[in-house]
Symmetry: C2
Subunit: 365 residues, 2 copies
């Protein structure tokens, strides 16, 4: 155990949060900054809460080097609601929404867009059970006018991640970064819209971060439901209606923690170290563990692998559970095992898992 | 102060939470029931979290005596998203959505419905600045087929509340109960849909409770965005995508607390006692304080009143602030003062406010 009673949490989301963040939240839960109130009891229009919101936006801007051309929003409904909001706002009747399929979440995004407009699958690795990310050259756009190009930057279920992003002149790139935002440095200016449910790398569930190029707002059609119109939330600084105030507060603490770790650059180095521990253990196992993803598409957030037989998988998961590892069962759609090693999962947890993997392989070869 | 450093919180929402609830949440924030994880770090598909969700549903069912004909959902987006989801799901092209206007929130609900179908205002007290609730006889439905009849059960800004609900044979009654759910006993079977943002009487912001008559599901048209279709959430027990897990946990604790107080009947008696303290102080003031609402429409949740001059209002709010009262300024649309005295506001806070109101009136007549 990392500290007394602390689980080795490899949950896919909601997932591990930094212990110092939880401890600070605990400390000030009943009395936030001497207001005599919990942060949950503050009015969302109070000075105290506005400070929390502003601080979260400023810290995220600093960490991701977000340019002035973009606006940060804190919304509700998760990535799943973004799947619909994106085509509602940015897919005109004469345009095609271009989707790259790299896993179940891309498929869900496409399914929602299809209900609302014309779409095209411009690259897909579905036929090989999403073991890899398409090569950038394989992303071929149709001749029709494109509304946007949509990708899923990291695929939690299959354990794959884009190494480099497509960049096509004149085409708005939209990315679902729910499972890898802030795991590494990116150039935000290349994206017209980034969205991410908070419950993996940002905080608790119930907050969705959207980073939106303001130019896009011009494209929003009239008559949309107010809550589903991005302009509503830009105009009101995410305070059109009552936002999930506690979630935004937790997110602001997680961002502070990332800054204290040395920012995204330092987190990225740590993430590579963590992922390497597990991938190396698999390599050492001489085929006992088989990674689901091809080497060049491997994720540093979700490490997916299979064992030689279902019986061994069951035994592995059972013993892991007894040793205090949580959340290692693979998603039901591909089976096997998965270790989600988001930013807040400590190096020590990955070290412990690698040791366990080595021991289990040696004992069961 | 009620306890050391505890503010007298009269915020309109987010608002006061029961102190024992906050203390319990604080105690188990880092290590939930010996899992070695925070409740925020649990998978939403784990046994531990499913127990939280089930417990919340069972306790709410017990407290409100919810019949088997109805389903409880925990959604995101607040009442504001319900304003759109209701007509999307339950207003067919040949039907009219009937709205009673009793304040700003009713107006917003109507505005969103207008974007999506035909509507009619079937009663309104707008002309008298929403000082009262229409008489039940004044609710006159048009001859067209009615999709539903929509009311706002309590009006936070104007301080009015329905004493009795309209009940029209064959017409589905839908109520926004964001600001008074669980403040008193109601007959849930008379409603086809009840919805409530949690941040007033139920818990923190970021969770929306929907109590839905299952028969209504038959009326949902095809092709709706998955997240905006009530059936999605009924079928998946509110776990279609990651729900706001911490919010649902807090809500379950608040429901436990209501039960410990003696249930809704006991809470209702306490709420009448609290409201009476403030209304009686106004009566004693011989016109120094003027309630905004007419006597028969007065809310037991939001007590709104004005003082003789703007200068006195400013002085009242300033002195109140110095004495530790929070959130007493009236909404900008009607000015004056407002004390929101939701379930979790203790009797002692209302007693202290009544004393202060008496003293201020005596000193400034």
């Amino acid at each position: 155990m990392i500290t007394l009673n602390r689980a080795y949490n490899f949950n896919a989301g909601p997932s591990a949060l930094p212990l110092p963040v939880l401890q600070l939240a605990q400390e000030e839960l009943v009395n936030f900054k001497n207001t005599g109130m919990s942060v949950m009891e503050l009015s969302h229009r109070s000075k105290e809460f506005e400070d929390v919101l502003t601080h979260a936006k400023e810290t995220l801007t600093e960490l991701l080097n977000i340019p002035d051309t973009h606006e940060i929003l804190f919304l509700q409904g998760g990535a799943s609601l973004q799947f619909s909001m994106i085509p509602m706002n940015f897919l005109a009747p004469d345009q095609v929404g271009a989707y790259v399929l790299t896993g179940s979440w891309s498929e869900k995004a496409l399914k929602e867009a299809k209900k609302l407009g014309k779409t095209a699958v411009v690259a897909s690795t579905k036929e090989e059970n999403y073991r890899s990310i398409p090569a950038l050259d394989d992303v071929k756009l149709p001749k029709e006018e494109i509304g946007y190009l949509h990708i899923t930057s990291n695929n939690t279920i299959f354990g794959t991640q884009w190494a480099d992003y497509p960049s096509i002149e004149g085409v708005d790139l939209i990315a679902d970064m729910s499972s890898d935002i802030l795991c590494r440095q990116i150039d935000v200016s290349k994206f017209s819209l980034i969205y991410a449910g908070a419950q993996k790398n940002l905080g608790p569930s119930g907050v969705t971060v959207v980073i939106l190029k303001k130019e896009l707002l011009k494209r929003i059609p009239e008559g949309l439901p107010t809550m589903l119109n991005y302009e509503t939330h830009v105009k009101s600084n995410s305070l059109y209606n009552t936002p999930p105030t506690f979630g935004i507060y937790m997110l602001s603490l997680v961002l502070d923690w990332i800054k204290e770790q040395g920012g995204v650059k330092a987190i990225e180095a740590q993430n590579h170290k963590k992922a390497k521990l597990l991938y190396t253990s698999m390599e050492r196992s001489n085929g006992f563990y088989t990674p689901h993803a091809t080497e060049e598409s491997r994720s540093i957030m979700n490490v997916t692998f299979t064992l030689p037989t279902d019986e061994l998988t069951t035994a592995f998961l059972q013993q892991a559970k007894e040793k205090g590892f949580v959340g290692l069962a693979g998603h039901r759609s591909i089976g096997g095992c998965r270790a989600s090693i988001y930013n807040a999962v400590p190096l020590e947890a990955c070290e412990a898992l690698a040791v366990f993997m080595d021991e289990f392989a040696q004992a069961n070869v």
